[in-house]
Symmetry: D2
Subunit: 137 residues, 4 copies
């Protein structure tokens, strides 16, 4: 399976990423550019997105990038740093950097920016690479 | 304002926590016991909740506990460790521990368990305490 | 091998823990109480310990606790939160909490306090449990 | 004060960085390239460096880079991911990336590589920027 086919399979079976309104801009090995528009049902009374929104977007990008090589990947842990609040109507975008990829573990950084290119959050995640593969499932 | 009044105000203005179906079991200073049932729209094709669900639940609990003292609190960063997948139908529950509370910073641990008492995830978060207060807003 | 025998073997082969002047107060399964006195060669010009000192003390405690069950444990990642600076002459002490222990992964929290019982730092660490055992080495 | 003068002042008052044998290859605004050779007193019985060594090296680089702009910076928290053990005799080197720099907070990534260019560890750290300045002290 190609990265696109793997991420198709993941995304099509992921109603939460769909509820978030995630749009896939680019798939690739170790890459995942996603976009999401901050809707009112993602915000609190101050018009600022719940902390779980930027996290969930970054977590989807991390999962897509980590699985794109064909080996099943599971998150061990992730750290999110909040740098700027995401406002109602903002369009958030991810950029994934594959820091390290060994045989059993891999490490990623996901940057979440808004439509002005300002950094909203950075997620640093460690994943376990299982011996199971994505093809023929 | 009492912790309950502050969390009422936060929760009532937080449509994402409401979409998650979060039920408040207990509010208090530095405490927040929340429950959430894992619905199909939170799961992927394997019947396992998206990583953002446990995170978002824990982040709500952390925000409620951190703001309950009356001082406005903002997340700086949080680390989530995934220990066991959350399954469709699981009822997830939070327990918050206030590790440290200074004048400008505070630190929390949120444990997320399922209905069997098994640990699903642990979130360790640092918050900044602003000089703004919750009363009279 | 008992927890004490495993930690004896680890500590006796660990010149850095010895340079730090680490004293072992209690060994046990998933437990490690260590003490260290902050010396001038651990401090900067402001009489405050380098951030690596509290981290290294906590990392030794985490390693001792994680290996004490008899299975070889390796750190995947750790997060340290700094809550209060450690001063010259302070006696730092660790308390380890075993949050989770599965067959392949385990998770620990290490609190570092000073002689007044004030919290200096908290370390949250994930370890990989290998299939290798400590006995007969 | 220039970045070099600030880091001179920090390094000259930091006996722990000196004990580590840290060599400064490059100072600059938001930059700090440091080197350290893994000596036997930093290793355990398996000839592998204590986890606190890579952390301490990265923490020094982070502190130098974060303070280099002239504003006093204090670590809030840091996450280290261990990717490959550092062996006796390895020469470890840091590269710092300034992810974000606001008025009160900044965020850094420090990569630690060995002499073959292999990634040993990645540290992701958040710092608080105080209103105090480095000049005229």
């Amino acid at each position: 399976m190609t990265p696109k086919e793997i991420v198709d399979k993941m995304y099509n079976n992921d109603p939460f990423s769909q509820w978030l309104g995630i749009r896939r801009i680019e798939d690739g090995k170790g890459i995942s550019i996603l976009e999401l528009e901050v809707r009112s049902e993602m915000c609190n009374g101050f018009g600022i997105a719940h902390g779980g929104i930027a996290y969930s977007l970054a977590d989807s990008a991390l999962a897509f990038a980590a699985n794109s090589h064909g080996q099943l990947a599971l998150s061990i842990n992730s750290t999110i740093s909040y740098l700027k609040p995401a406002q109602l109507g903002d369009v958030l975008k991810t950029a994934v950097e594959e820091i390290f990829r060994g045989s059993k573990n891999a490490s990623y950084i996901v940057r979440v920016t808004n439509q002005k290119g300002e950094l909203i959050a950075v997620v640093n995640g460690a994943v376990h690479l299982s011996q199971k593969l994505w093809f023929d499932k």
